[in-house]
Amino acid sequence: MDSFVTNLQVVPLNHYILLSVIVFCIGVIGVLIRRNAIVVFMSIELMLNAVNLLLTAFSVHHGDASGQVFVFFVMALAAAEVAVGLAIIVMIYRNTHSTDIDILNKLKW
């Protein structure tokens, strides 16, 4: 059983980096091209998840548990961020009757 677990993973580390980079950049593109604030939030979640996967892969690679503890903190932070952010979106919707982020240009010079 022990040797089974030891030999479980043989994927090169740079393939994990590549996957994380691609998913992160998809999140960046989502933030740039969408106008719906909720979809922008989902893109931010995608970016956070890409970082989480990379931290876990490096943590397993180095045999150090600190990386996985950091993933735990990132998840707690993401939960707080989503709760506050969605409350802000609800408040914006109550004032402007839309979740379009292009309406919120009052601070633009």
């Binding site: 091209i33 893109s43 876990t56 397993v60 996985q68 503890v69 735990f72 998840m75 609800v90 839309s98």
Partner: protein, 180 residues
Amino acid sequence: MSAFLGAFILIINMSIFYLVAFLSIVFSLLVIFSKNPVHSVLYLIITFFTFTVHYILLNAQFLAIVNFIVYMGAIMVLFLFVIMLLNLNRDTEPMHSLVIKIIGIIAGGCLALTLIGALKATLSYKVPVVVTKSDLGLVKNLGKVLFNEFLLPFELSSVLLLSAMVGAILLAKKESNAIN
């Protein structure tokens, strides 16, 4: 016989990684390109599920369970509730103009290109990810690290979650005595 079995498991596992990685990319593309926000949320759930499979492949069992419960449970319910509350279940969402979309895709592609180029410059990471410590991602080991080295950040994150909860309730509450 056992060596043959080991090689077989190895090949199966590698192909699982590449299949799941492909699915992650496809569904995260669908998240940002689908017109309906409800469809985006549903594709996001599938993306998070593929990430859970990645954690299981890395033998990070605690993170797999937490990802499953927190992301696929709590956060997705929040998103779906807000979309339901705001009645955004329609396809007539205002979209950016095509020029801004193309510029955004080019900008994201440039970022990807830069990061991949930086990765190509470091040739030392061709080594495979081998699970050297089989109990690394288990609750027992992670709990020991969390409550010894990271006790203060852990307590601070509990304060953060409490203040986020209070802030969310304050923000989303209807103002009964609104300012005229």
